[in-house]
Symmetry: C2
């Protein structure tokens, strides 16, 4: 959890942004936002006025929120009448994260606080959270080290003839034993993820998940990740897993093969590495996410692989990297439409991948910190294909 001084700094930065935007307070309802600012993820609501001390109103558990929380004013969630007295001053604009808060919540607070008008501060909060402190980068590095320790064990349990599910279960079990927290938070509406992907060959690359590789999953109800398909020799086994420790999510992908891969797959892999290196060099403060993505896509085109970049034909995702932190889908995004300049301390999972129909998914993923020297790699493990 954040230290008390770090929690105070985060709140001060939010208050500066609120003041600069003419928003009188933020009413934060999302657990990840509440944890980031207060140090506790209990069922609660965090009130941050643009000036003055914040207040955490707790539904459950008040005792635990007080044990863990880094702010002074932590109290039980009041009755609606009391809430109105507490927060219902006339004519003030109040920020709420409209990207994630359900309509019913918005309607309820609008009814209880009729003098208030609510405005969307999703981007403000997400941008603020995207810049990691040194302490957060240490937590991410710790997550990376733990995730890598399990990637290194893959050769001991990956066997031809096992199914994707057994491989995924082997990853999940080893991660869990060393403290993986399990639940991978995603912010985007309509997304959900369990653990990661362990997929083999070419059959598994279409689905709802907004990534290059989705996985077939086990049923149409859960159409994602590992399936019962068997892992065969001489095809790429792509393992893309998130590690979650102390709340912080790291993301990486490596390719394994039992036997060898054909020349076209190897050429695509080499192109992934070249794109990753170009993206890494470009990850300096001030760089524009969509320009980095366009450069990456052009490099795929130049190699004649544009049709297979970030998904199979007709299923391509239009990005090459995404922020990570307390959520898997943080800012910045290296994608079409993201024109905000990068900032030092942002942390981005860069994942150039190709899906070659009938052959399989191949590529690389590492998590980097944006610095003036370019991306600094947190997932400190060689990028090479691991040949068994």
């Amino acid at each position: 959890m954040p230290s008390r001084s770090e929690s105070q700094q985060r709140i001060s930065r939010l208050q500066e942004k609120l003041l600069a935007s003419g928003v009188q307070a933020a009413l934060l309802l999302m657990p990840s936002d509440i944890y980031y600012f207060s140090g506790t993820r209990q069922n609660s609501v965090l009130w941050v006025p643009s000036e003055g001390p914040p207040m955490l109103l707790v539904r459950k558990s008040l005792v635990r929120a007080r044990d863990e929380g880094m702010i002074d004013d932590i109290r039980p969630f009041p009755s609606s009448k009391e809430l109105s007295g507490l927060l219902g001053m006339e004519g003030d604009k109040v920020g709420m994260t409209f990207d994630a808060v359900p309509v019913q919540q918005h309607l309820w607070y609008s009814k209880v606080l009729p003098c208030r008008s609510f405005t969307d501060v999703s981007m403000m909060v997400r941008e603020l959270r995207s810049v990691k402190s040194p302490a957060e980068i240490e937590l991410l590095r710790n997550s990376a080290d733990k995730l890598i320790s399990v990637f290194r064990q893959v050769p001991s349990f990956l066997k031809a003839g096992m199914c994707e599910l057994d491989l995924a279960a082997g990853m999940e079990y080893r991660l869990r034993r060393i403290g993986h927290e399990g639940y991978v938070r995603m912010r985007a509406f309509n997304q959900e993820l369990f653990g990661g992907m362990a997929v083999s060959g070419g059959a598994a690359s279409y689905g709802f998940f907004d990534g290059a590789v989705t996985g077939k999953g086990l049923s149409s109800a859960s159409p994602q990740g590992a399936s019962l398909d068997l892992i065969r020799e001489n095809e790429p086994v792509l393992i893309d897993f998130a590690g979650v420790f102390d709340g912080y999510i790291i993301d990486m992908t490596r390719i394994f093969v039992i036997g060898s891969l054909d020349a076209e797959l190897l050429r695509a892999f080499e192109r992934s590495l070249a794109i990753q290196e170009a993206v890494r060099r470009a990850m300096v403060p001030g760089a524009i996410g969509e320009e980095i993505y366009r450069q990456a896509a052009a490099m795929a085109d130049d190699a004649g692989l544009g049709g297979y970049f970030m998904g199979m034909p007709g299923e391509q995702s239009r990005f090459v990297g995404h922020g990570v932190g307390l959520e898997l889908d943080e800012l910045p995004v290296l994608a079409q439409g993201f024109a905000m300049p990068l900032q030092a301390g942002q942390v981005v999972a860069v994942e150039p991948k190709f899906v070659l129909p009938g052959k399989g998914a191949i590529g690389i993923e590492n998590t980097f910190v944006v610095t003036s020297m370019g991306g600094q790699k947190l997932t400190d493990m060689p990028d090479d294909i691991v040949v068994l």
Copy 2:
């Protein structure tokens, strides 16, 4: 996935309800709702007019939605202009599930379809989904059998001196190997769950999760479920796990002990069984959820255990059962404030539990179908404490 005829029946039932409520169409955005009606959980939007054929508009993956979907009209998600032409008829009320849809989505559709006014159909959709068909009950029974097969293995890997995390990981791994889909869908804003709870002794009973037992978890960022606390002899080991197979969630709890339990814990356990039996008998069509809860709470009071029922003092949850299906928190709820009569075919996890400070959490949970004969148990395993 539902058969074509079952999908059609589900849509017809929704259409009847829309017509009866004067709502001209439903625009469904939640993956669980979309899967229930269409048979596919791709990133898509399901349009169900009160009369006439439904339409699925797919962002990703269109190919997979067409492979899996049980409705005829499946098309790519249109441009906003086309969407306006397609759905933007004058003056119609359109239903949306305000309980779960974010404000940004609501605002976007309100802008693209300015002639429409949106209304909340959360309860309509949730009530409809709460009544399970015979095919759904078979899926739930299958989930139960698989979950039970892992509960039966617990004596082979539960040892004194192991930590809660190792016990949880052992459950998760065995479940995953037999096809557990991993991600446990919850509908309520602010809730999240990984796998289940494997908790021992008395330290683990406060937290945000809306249940009797929360678990300490591994950090304040993920304050739920198994912790690093050691499992000791002569204390109750409570294992509360969800099984998810083919999308359908079953929920059960059993108590294990290495050694023996003291008389007060055993008395609380016997009371849990008596409450469960009273609830089971009461689970007939027409019964009222909050009355069943009040009866259960009164039975806890009569035994002098009211202060420990469904949580430790100050942390008590006010329910004794919750619906399960595609989500862990479906209707009906056996809780204060739920006055809707039960219907035959609803499926409810009944979980009377006590948390005795300093001693531990103890109780029982089984999943039952509401029938005219009372609750019919799906989790067909003896309720007894398993003594090792």
